[in-house]
Amino acid sequence: DAMVIQNPRYQVTQFGKPVTLSCSQTLNHNVMYWYQQKSSQAPKLLFHYYDKDFNNEADTPDNFQSRRPNTSFCFLDIRSPGLGDAAMYLCATSRDGSRTDTQYFGPGTRLTVL
């Protein structure tokens, strides 16, 4: 089945220790997104790629970076995680960003910062 896969599902890191979260998709979608979701809150968009074009949200901290080496993979790098970065990180894809597009989410990676 075509899907969005995230690894690992659970990640524990130490304060200030860099961490990388991975997302892959078999949908062959052009657009990939990274969201941060804290408990009982809406997913907050961090950035997205339309193909190779990177689009950063204005309020995304510099601590968060992303890479998309090819259509299938996208990575979220947190350079120096703080306690406030503990959250669920969701990867999503959409076909082409057209007005009738819909998003498909992965299962998420739950990040714990000690």
């Binding site: 009982s40 809406a42 959409s94 007005r99 998003q103 989410f105 998420g108």
Partner: protein, 109 residues
């Protein structure tokens, strides 16, 4: 004002009840509206999407959009304990997707 607002709940109903979940939005640029279901500690799962004002039905689920009042609803008929989850509404314009905080629903057997 947040772009998408919904009552966070929690909402508890007995099994078999009709559930009504509601959202309001402020951005007139939204062209597409979606409902996602999110089980605890899982990613959101697309339930329904609709483009125009009016109703869209899929099994026990009906999505309703009223663009004139910027109101989105999801109705669940014959609710089941397996429907217990958080329901997120959202809207999009092109590549921009915006979600509400979700309404937590519990269907009690």
């Amino acid at each position: 004002q947040k772009e998408v607002e919904q009552d966070p709940g929690p909402l508890s109903v007995p099994e078999g009840a009709i559930v009504s979940l509601n959202c309001t939005y402020s951005n007139s640029a939204f062209q597409y509206f979606m409902w996602y279901r999110q089980y605890s500690r899982k990613g959101p799962e697309l339930l329904m999407y609709t483009y125009s004002s009016g109703n869209k039905e899929d099994g026990r689920f009906t999505a309703q959009v009223d663009k004139s009042s910027k109101y989105i609803s999801l109705f669940i008929r014959d609710s089941q304990p397996s429907d217990s989850a958080t329901y997120l509404c959202g809207g999009n314009y092109g590549q921009n997707f915006v979600f509400g905080p979700g309404t937590r629903l519990s269907v009690l057997p």
